[in-house]
């Protein structure tokens, strides 16, 4: 293993953060650099990640790298919607592995309150194939709801099981001071909440948020000089699926996640049972259930049973999203992957406080862009 994460930071995730995008990114950058003894001058390149439809600023990489004091170093923008910062880490990995740079910063951000709610509503419909699917009034919850419906039909997954994902998320949100929604939710509350896109109800869906994250990566030699607790990238997988629903061949799982997971496990020379703690992309409750199956934490169709048996709580077979996940933290699109990685880095460093999984040695991050379009799985080791 030759590429390490030496710093991982994030801002609180919140609605209406009241500061500008450059200031948001500065907060996360400072927080990540404080894990190291590096100065901004030692960062050789920055990769700035967000979903551009929420940005007022054109080409945000220039603005942000200037504000962080990184000019004249190389900087550019990376985007794969909700998995943009995992894509950034993938690019950072290859920059370091190739020897082009020693140390790289990946900064993910999103200020979803930058644009008005009617502008948000207008953009929501254009996430699908705009020629053949958007004209029917689709949006993200509807896309995942169609997976939920098919999963329920094929595997007998229930609305109760979906709700139990949110109940777990709510429990752990109380232990995460940076989460947007810090509140325990009962099963009854989840089941009685208003429908967004059947069978998904309000608590089955994550919420828009403002926030930023930052991951500092470096090579083996520098890692040993800068920190006592480097976290190594052991496996990194990425894949895609069709944007159009009509071309999908699997309606009960995300093929891009299955493929990215296979690549990451192979590269890390491990099996799903070796993972001690995981962060999965729970933009909707059904997404977490499918992630259990797609990553091999259980057999296909048994994701509902896994949460039913509480196996993804701390103390269970495989603790998942013990920081509250997207469902409680909120989902500032470009910042989300970096936040997931930060959680796992802290777990492997033994710095996760009340949510520490004992002796965690291997962690996994599953970060998905769009409705199963961009799949990213990253395996980290201490």
């Amino acid at each position: 293993m030759s590429v390490a994460i030496i710093g991982a930071g994030q801002t609180p995730f919140q609605r209406n953060c009241k500061i500008s995008i450059r200031e948001l990114c500065f907060e996360a950058f400072k927080n990540a650099l404080e894990d190291t003894n590096l100065t901004p001058k030692e960062i050789e390149a920055s990769i700035i990640c967000s979903a551009p439809e929420y940005d007022k600023q054109r080409s945000p990489a220039a603005l942000i790298s200037e504000y962080l004091g990184l000019t004249p170093k190389s900087t550019f923008y990376a985007e794969s919607i909700c998995s943009s910062s995992s894509t950034g880490v993938r690019i950072g990995y290859s920059l370091i592995k190739s020897g082009l740079h020693d140390t790289v910063a990946v900064i993910g951000f999103q200020k979803m309150s930058e644009i008005s709610s009617s502008e948000v509503q207008e953009r929501m419909g254009r996430g699908a194939d705009i020629q053949w699917e958007s004209p029917f009034g689709t949006m993200m919850p509807a896309g995942y709801a169609m997976y939920a419906r098919a999963h329920m039909q094929k595997h007998g997954t229930t609305e109760d099981q979906l709700a139990k994902i949110k109940v777990k998320s709510g429990k752990y949100s109380l232990l995460n001071p940076l989460a947007m929604h810090r509140r325990a939710v009962t099963l009854e509350e989840c089941l009685k909440a208003r429908t967004i896109a059947s069978p998904l109800k309000m608590y089955d869906c994550c919420a828009n948020a403002d926030g930023a994250s930052c991951i500092i990566m470096t090579n083996k030699e520098k890692a040993k000089k800068t920190t006592d607790t480097p976290i190594w990238i052991a496996g990194i997988g990425a894949a895609s699926d069709t944007l159009s629903t009509t071309s999908r061949t699997n309606l009960t799982g995300l093929n891009c996640a299955i493929e990215a997971g296979k690549q990451a496990y192979k590269m890390a020379h491990i099996e799903p049972k070796d993972v001690d703690v995981a962060e999965v992309h729970d933009c909707f409750t059904i997404a977490e259930i499918m992630a259990y199956e797609n990553l091999g934490f259980c057999k296909p169709g048994e994701g509902g049973k896994l949460i039913e048996e509480s196996q993804t709580y701390i103390g269970g077979k495989i603790p998942v999203n013990v920081d509250g996940g997207l469902l409680s933290k909120g989902h500032p699109i470009g910042a989300t992957g970096g936040s997931q990685i930060r959680t796992i880095v802290h777990q492997l460093q033994g710095q996760a406080g009340k949510t520490q999984v004992k002796d965690a040695e291997i962690g996994l991050v599953h970060n998905i862009g769009g409705i199963g379009v961009y799949g990213n799985v990253t395996i980290l080791r201490r």
């Binding site: 207008e122 929501m124 419909g125 020629q131 009034g137």
Partner: protein, 142 residues
């Protein structure tokens, strides 16, 4: 394929120009058309003018029977801008008997309690306000 205006397709359309704009003309004539690659024989719906299998651009229009089965669905209670007046509406994915899939709304004549995965449906052209046109999935005639 001649270029005509595609903007008539759908309640709100985001694409004006496309090589397959003739789809709208056929739809106005009551026909739902797919394309078939003359080189490899693959059938495409939604239609496309360029075959990625063999890079051929030699495709022919071919009429679908419209007979299909429901694969999955959701009833939306929130909508993107411009669709709010239609709420609630049911978005469906169905498999055509020709093997291609179609993404469309389920006709409002089908009550939510009567929807079941696997049910037979008929893909049918539908005229909308302002001269626009689309297709929807209706109950199959016995």
């Amino acid at each position: 394929m001649t270029q005509v205006n595609f903007e008539k397709f759908g309640k709100i359309s985001y694409v004006r120009e496309t090589k397959v704009a003739d789809f709208v003309k056929h739809l106005e004539n009551g026909k739902i058309m797919a394309t078939r690659c003359n080189k490899c024989g693959k059938l495409y719906f939604p239609p496309r003018a360029d075959c990625p299998e063999d890079l051929s651009q030699d495709v022919t229009w071919e009429k679908l029977s419209g007979r299909c089965k429901l694969l999955t669905y959701t009833t939306a209670h929130f909508a993107p801008a411009g669709f709010e007046d239609a709420l609630p509406y049911t978005i469906a994915l169905a498999e055509c008997e020709e093997g291609t899939k179609v993404y469309a709304l389920l006709s409002k004549e089908i009550k939510e309690n009567d929807i079941s995965i696997g049910m037979d449906l008929q893909l049918t052209p539908l005229h909308l306000a302002d001269g626009k046109i689309t297709y929807e999935l209706r109950k199959a005639q016995a």
